[in-house]
């Protein structure tokens, strides 16, 4: 099948879904729901493809005795054990919850905790650069918010909480709103390019 066919599919499907936001015709609504349902199922299949690919890549690394093949073996074993236990007993069974609570949550939580050191390290290194107004504003705001977010040794510095609230409600809102509008405009531009066939991330 040629690229124009895929473009036509993407455009037609996209237009039906997009029109559903603005036109509330029964036929359009029903068609849109069916398309969305299919897309959701396909998203789940895509997730499966991702995990299958992960398994395949590490299987190949392990069987071809590449460097770090041991880690691939570990990954495959943990993947298969999880697959068997959670698949057999169900995701909310006590065994599945045991794996989740004692392996996944501690590791992910610890990774997040590592950020405290790494971000502080990055903040310190920021001072090594030649300071300019923007970097001073960035790090100054960050330090001020860090001071003002938690209890300051139980000391109530007058105006600190109010200053935090003002930054959160005025300049940060202004910047965030500008960023949100910019992101929305960028999303619209990119999405329309895809819908018009100018960008074809599906190949062709």
């Amino acid at each position: 099948m040629k690229a124009p066919f895929y473009v036509a599919i993407a455009m037609a499907i996209g237009l039906i879904v997009l029109l559903g936001y603005f036109l509330h015709l029964d036929i359009l609504v029903n068609l849109r729901i069916v398309l969305l349902e299919w897309a959701v199922i396909l998203s789940a299949v895509a997730l499966l493809v991702g995990t299958a690919n992960l398994f395949y890549v590490h299987w190949r690394k392990f069987t071809t005795a590449q460097p770090n093949g041991f880690y691939s073996a570990v990954l495959i074993i943990s993947f298969v054990i999880t697959l068997v236990v959670v698949g057999w007993f169900g995701p909310t069974h006590a065994y599945s919850m045991w794996i989740f609570n004692n392996i996944q949550v501690p590791i992910e939580g610890s990774l997040m905790a590592l950020l405290t050191v790494l971000l502080a390290f990055a903040g310190v290194r920021l001072f090594r650069r030649k300071p300019n107004l923007i970097s001073i504003l960035f790090i100054g705001t960050a330090i001020l918010i860090l001071f003002a977010t938690g209890p300051l040794f139980g000391i109530n510095l007058p105006g600190l909480s109010e200053l935090r609230a003002w930054i959160a409600q005025v300049p940060a809102v202004a910047g965030a709103r500008g960023i949100l509008l910019g992101v929305a405009l960028g999303t619209i531009a990119t999405g329309l390019r895809v819908l018009m066939g100018a960008d074809r991330p599906y190949g062709g």
Binding site: Y6, L18, V74, T82, G87, L119, A142, A176, V194
Partner: protein, 233 residues
């Protein structure tokens, strides 16, 4: 505490220390923990996709549904099989059709959401900034709200000006509008710096809670082991 809980606590303790060892530098213990984590996470994701989506919404309608349901389920079935060909580099072109389908729906959802959920309401919110009556400014200081509203409006416009996409002029002299936009963009950069500094502090706060939770876990795990060793006073 049951045996399972004890073994689980020991595992959690070990994994926490393995990950924390990254502070010393990248090391085999850290990598071991990360690979176990990836395997477990992938296993959970795969089972959730099968258990929660493919079985109830694809297999049950196909096997146990009405005629219409079967026909409707047949399409994603075929598309799903085509998508599975993406695993093989040789067969992957067959997977372009379902990808085109997903991309079309995804782009439409993104555009529709951005327009109806962010662009119009947020633009409207910016316009309404100086509508003090509807903002409920009766009880609060009117002047302060006005000043804040003006700052937010300028900040929003300046941030947008910083993000503006335009073609650079071929002529040597930039136009008046370009000079004006660049100046406004500089102001916008300051607002962006403040916002990103705010977000940085937010991420740090989130990480700090994670650290505290892990340290509480470690302390609670070690404390019962150490108490018998401590001299009773």
């Amino acid at each position: 505490m049951s045996i399972a809980d004890l073994v689980g606590a020991i595992l959690g303790f070990i994994f926490t220390l393995l990950v924390f060892s990254y502070i010393i530098g990248d090391n085999p213990l850290f990598r071991l923990a990360i690979h176990i984590f990836i395997g477990v996470a992938a296993g959970f994701a795969a089972i959730m996709a099968v258990n929660n989506v493919l079985l109830p919404r694809l297999m049950i309608p196909l096997l146990d549904g009405s005629r219409d349901e079967r026909i409707l389920a047949l399409v994603p079935m075929v598309l799903g099989w085509l998508l599975l060909t993406k695993i093989s580099p040789r067969l992957s072109p067959f997977g372009n059709l379902p990808v085109a389908f997903l991309v079309g729906v995804g782009a439409a959802a993104a555009v529709g959401g951005a327009v109806t959920g962010t662009l119009f309401p947020q633009a409207y919110a910016s316009i309404n900034l100086l509508d003090l009556q509807s903002a409920g400014a009766i009880d609060t200081s009117l002047g302060l709200m006005l000043v804040n509203g003006v700052i937010i409006l300028i900040g929003t416009l300046a941030t947008l000006a910083y993000f503006h996409f335009g073609v650079s002029s071929r002529t040597q002299q930039p136009s008046q509008v370009q000079v004006w936009l660049e100046g406004l963009g500089q102001v916008g950069q300051a607002f962006i710096a403040i916002t990103l500094g705010f977000i940085f502090a937010g991420i740090y706060s989130a990480a700090m809670v994670a650290l505290i939770e892990r340290l509480y876990f470690l302390v609670n795990f070690v404390k019962p082991l150490l108490i018998p060793l401590l001299p009773s006073s």
